[in-house]
């Protein structure tokens, strides 16, 4: 059996912190940040029935973080009776996006073809974004299920970005940047982001410059959004665990530094 090292105890501690706090099932009182509030306000005050493209620009590995983020935004959009067109610019996000849309649509009684359509995946994201600026139908002659584009009530009259209120990019990487640089800059379509926490600092400059209209970031953003829409989900459930895990990591950093400096002093005096 392998000898246990310090890192094993660090992992074990994290496992216990997260498990115990999740079993306690206590919900933290969240206050929405200006970022999350701006995204909420945008979707809330869009005229009913506005058409949004929801782009699932993420891989399967980020699903635990993406799921609460996407679910919160989709619930809000369906509740406001906006028309949603789902696309995916990363192959791995294709089925996840379809299932998330179908699940949240089911909660709100939204019908496929009338309230939402899922067009699926296109490779070469830059080419796909540019092509949709010319013609969404030519880029997606069929939906994800193989039905012709013209068959859907929702898509009648949707030619390109001129007929879209905004693109909601649900991303775990830099794909939202391409929506901004090609969709927003060239065709003027409004881009809003719902991204993982790791990507927040990447998109901050775009938010500050106005190239991105609004953004929600990470599990915390999801928890804030859930509070705004009044429906708890994975974000609210995970916030106590998240906060406790962060305190635990800070404690480990402090302890590590104390150990490091005391060992250095011991070596110095020796």
């Amino acid at each position: 059996m392998k000898k246990l090292e310090a890192r094993h105890f660090a992992f074990l501690g994290l496992f216990l912190v997260v498990t115990l706090t999740m079993l306690l099932n206590i919900k933290l009182d969240m206050k929405a940040s200006p970022y999350t509030q701006a995204l909420y306000n945008y979707i809330e005050f869009l005229p009913e029935g506005s058409t949004l493209i929801v782009s699932f620009d993420h891989e399967a590995s980020s699903l635990p973080e993406i799921r609460p983020i996407a679910t919160a935004v989709l619930r809000h959009a369906f509740r406001k009776k906006h028309k949603l067109i789902g696309v995916s610019l990363l192959a791995e996000g294709t089925l996840i996006g379809y299932r998330l849309m179908r699940e949240t649509a089911g909660e709100h009684g939204a019908e496929y073809g009338t309230d939402y359509v899922y067009l699926g995946f296109r490779p070469q994201y830059i080419a796909a974004i540019l092509a949709m600026g010319e013609s969404i139908e030519k880029t997606y002659p069929q939906d994800y299920l193989g039905n012709p584009y013209g068959q859907f009530e929702l898509l009648k009259g949707v030619q390109n970005y001129d007929d879209i209120a905004a693109v909601v990019s649900i991303a775990d990487g830099s794909l939202t940047t391409h929506w901004i640089e090609y969709g927003q800059a060239r065709y003027g379509v409004r881009v809003v982001g719902a991204v993982t926490a790791a990507m927040v600092t990447t998109y901050d400059p775009y938010l500050a410059s106005g190239q991105m209209y609004a953004m929600m970031g990470g599990l915390r953003g999801a928890a804030e959004y859930e509070k705004l829409i009044g429906k708890d989900g994975g974000g609210a459930r995970g916030m106590l665990a998240q906060s406790s895990a962060h305190i635990y990591v800070i404690l480990l950093i402090v302890l590590g530094n104390i150990a490091y400096f005391s060992s250095r002093r011991t070596k110095g005096s020796g």
Binding site: K2, H8, F11, L14, F15, V18, T19, M22, L23, N25, A60, S61, S62, P64, E65, R67, P68, A91, E92, T94, L95, G120, F121, R122, P123, I126, L130, P141, Q142, Y144, G146, T177, I180, E181, Y182, Q184, A185, R186, T196, A197, A198, M199, V200, T201, P205, A208, S209, G210, Q211, G218, L219, R220, G234, R237, G238, A241, Q242, A245, H246, V249
Partner: protein, 204 residues
């Protein structure tokens, strides 16, 4: 319990077993992930793209121009045969040329010009109150750029300016690291929620 939940639960535990040490169960789960991912991408690309955008319209005769991208695509495979490998340069050249043509102006505009114009804001507002955040942004921009200016030795006043730039860089790295830790924790919490709620059914 659904079969999918059981498989997902076992695979999650298999991946987490790496935290103890590298082991065959972890390796199996890792290889399975890679294999399934590649297989899925291939199937999606074939059904969602090649069939619907190329083969069906081409062979139905509705868009014969599609023969051009088909030929370019086939030429890519020429690189696997020594005698005709040079033919693959045609589609590669096409891709690099068109890719650069599309990307350069977009990146110059989106990442440089728009960001530059957003960085330079009035340092004092209309009522005469200093715009603190604007001043900090400009100070950060100039000092960080100084740090990346390598044609002059970082000594004297210029060296001190570059040193301030490193301070802004460290703040950025710290923030990014903090957000990344938060993101990874969220992923772990998401999987733990799945294990405790759906797989082990210990929590609601």
């Amino acid at each position: 319990m659904e079969m999918g939940t059981i498989i997902a639960g076992i695979l999650t535990l298999a991946i987490l077993s790496f935290l103890y040490r590298d082991n065959p169960i972890y390796k199996m789960a890792e290889y399975l992930l890679i294999g399934v991912s590649i297989g899925y991408v291939l199937v999606i690309t074939w059904t969602n793209t090649l069939m619907s955008l190329l083969f069906v319209p081409l062979f139905a005769g509705s868009d014969l121009w599609l023969i051009i991208p088909l030929i370019l695509g086939l030429l890519m495979w020429a690189r696997f045969h020594k005698n005709i490998a040079s033919l693959s340069r045609i589609p590669i050249g096409f891709m690099i040329g068109s890719g650069a043509g599309v990307a350069i102006p977009a990146m110059l505009y989106g990442r440089t010009l728009r960001q530059l114009s957003a960085s330079v804001t009035p340092l004092v507002d209309s009522s005469g109150v200093p715009n603190i955040s604007g001043i900090v942004v400009i100070a950060g921009l100039l000092t960080t750029l100084s740090y990346f200016y390598f044609s002059r030795e970082h000594k004297g006043h210029f060296g001190r300016l570059a040193k301030v730039g490193t301070f802004f860089l460290m703040v950025f790295f710290g923030t990014t690291f903090g957000y990344t830790v938060m993101s990874r924790m969220s992923t772990f919490i998401g999987r733990m929620e799945f294990l405790l709620t759906d797989f082990l059914r210990l929590a609601n």
